[in-house]
Point group: C2
Chain length 200, copies 2
């Protein structure tokens, strides 16, 4: 009997991410995952209740991975200028790693199931907390602090990223997202000047 | 033989929108649409090539409808404060009409098909142009005009709206989106002050 090892589970999750990235959500199946991973389909059902459970595990894995990098890079950010520079770098990594595409595929795919939708929202929770902490730090002591609750602005940041990825996904054009990050870098020094001059 | 009338076509599209709104994308089928509309399934295939073509027609119908209202309301907007007030009103309408939910359902559902994805992006084009025109007017003559291309900012506005709807859809909670529009209203007078003081 096959040993139910963590290493095997990880290999299945990796194969699932690869299939999402390369084949897309609609063509990701137990078969496509087994083929990508070079193992039999039965192994999947030995480790996961069903394909939905595996997709969520893949989403969780990709999310945890990227969240660690975002936390590292954003921990010391104290200005909008720094933030814009770090985000551009992190986004380049997101694209290179290919996890964003996988995540987008799953988010689009699971949105039909209310229960899975809530599980996806649970995965977004730590991202919301990270964004909120960064925004909190940037507006603290300025005229904007009482006007824009950091929690709402963090929701906006997450929504913007998700919408950007949905649109990129719809037409396969990554340029608008990249130009947006450029624009953020261009406007960041002004934002910092405004922040500083509005200190209360 | 049934007459291939525009009225019948419209009734089918209306039944499709109702099914998307009430049953969700995953449970919208020729059967659910026929039941909602009180006609036979054959009528659908007499007017539309397949269910995908009907879904796109429904999306186009909902989009055109709302676009007309947005154009009306935003035509005369000259300040961020006015914009924020109008957007809050339009968003309330979006929710009441229920088209947003239908659109979100189709966007999530079609994202698996590259060809349909591009058709959805085509529908977004006039929205992009409207957002671009509004932003252009608001930044014209200020220090922000050369820094933030209106086209990129318009892309961000669309992405934000779509991401907001995706997240609302995932957990069924409309409150964060509404709070965000509140926050925009709160910060709008400051934004207008900054705009005015940065006129070049």
């Amino acid at each position: 009997m096959v040993k139910k090892s963590a290493a095997t589970r990880e290999a299945i999750v990796a194969a699932c991410l690869e299939s999402l990235r390369e084949d897309g959500y609609a063509r990701t199946s137990a078969r496509s995952i087994a083929r990508r991973g070079g193992f039999g389909q039965a192994l999947i059902y030995y480790h996961f209740e069903d394909l939905g459970a595996l997709l969520l595990a893949a989403l969780e894995n990709a999310s945890t991975d990227r969240l660690r990098r975002y936390r590292e890079e954003l921990a010391e950010v104290a200005t909008v200028t720094e933030l814009a520079a770090r985000l551009a770098e992190l986004y380049r990594e997101d694209v290179a790693v290919g996890h964003v595409k996988a995540v987008q595929e799953v988010v689009a795919g699971v949105s039909a199931s209310p229960e899975r939708g809530r599980r996806v929202m649970d995965l977004l929770q730590p991202w919301h907390e990270l964004a909120e902490a960064v925004i909190q730090k940037l507006v603290a002591g300025t005229a904007f602090a009482p006007l824009v609750p950091a929690g709402d602005a963090a929701f906006a940041a997450l929504a913007l990223y998700m919408g950007m990825e949905t649109m990129t996904h719809l037409d396969g054009d990554r340029a608008p997202g990249e130009r947006l990050l450029e624009a953020l870098r261009a406007v960041a020094p002004i934002a910092d000047t405004i922040r500083e001059s509005s200190r209360t």
